[in-house]
Amino acid sequence: MDAEVKSRIEEILKNPVVLFMKGTPDFPQCGFSGQAVQILEACHANYAYFNIFEDPELREALKEYSNWPTYPQLYINGELVGGCDIIIDMYNKGELQQALASVDAVAES
């Protein structure tokens, strides 16, 4: 993998919570990315997002970096949490809320 793209990925992963998605939270361009956004909103999460359609090179490189071939991909503390299925599952068990709280990424309501 190109070192420049890799360092760009690592730069983005410095965000405590970041969602790599298709489209934006306001205009998700895939149902799975939209569901991931909804779950994060339901958790009142403070999160960064990256629209992978805006960067085809990074889109391909991140798949290789994480050994994960699909989007969305949610990262907390630089670690891959999972895609849509895992996010929903963790939310239903209360584990996602805990993980977000552990990095202080839950907005005061």
């Binding site: 361009q29 149902g31 799975f32 050994n67 994960w68 071939p69 699909t70 999972g82 299925d85």
Partner: protein
């Protein structure tokens, strides 16, 4: 047919106790992802190999087994990955 292909690859790589594949492609016909021909599938896999592995690690094993299929043939893959003992207990 892709579902058969998925089955073959997963059987070979993970030697599952149970493997079910549902083809949901028809439900997503017409949206952007399907125009390139990629299908939507859901797999339920029960396999010993998942023992002691996190959900992320289980999914990564499945993706690795599918390899290039994930690039074109499969647009989206729902995954339910369990160990035999989790299956018996009915937990997820």
């Amino acid at each position: 047919m892709t579902a058969e292909h998925i089955k073959q690859k997963l059987n070979q790589a993970l030697q599952p106790d149970t493997l079910e594949i549902i083809d949901n492609s028809a439900a997503h016909a017409g949206h952007a992802g399907t125009q390139s021909g990629g299908g939507h599938y859901h797999v339920t896999i029960v396999a010993e190999i998942f023992n002691g592995k996190s959900q992320v690690q289980r999914h990564q094993l499945i993706y690795k087994a599918l390899g290039d299929l994930m690039k074109n043939e499969i647009h989206a893959l729902g995954i339910h990955a369990l160990t035999p003992s989790e299956k018996t207990k009915g937990t997820q």
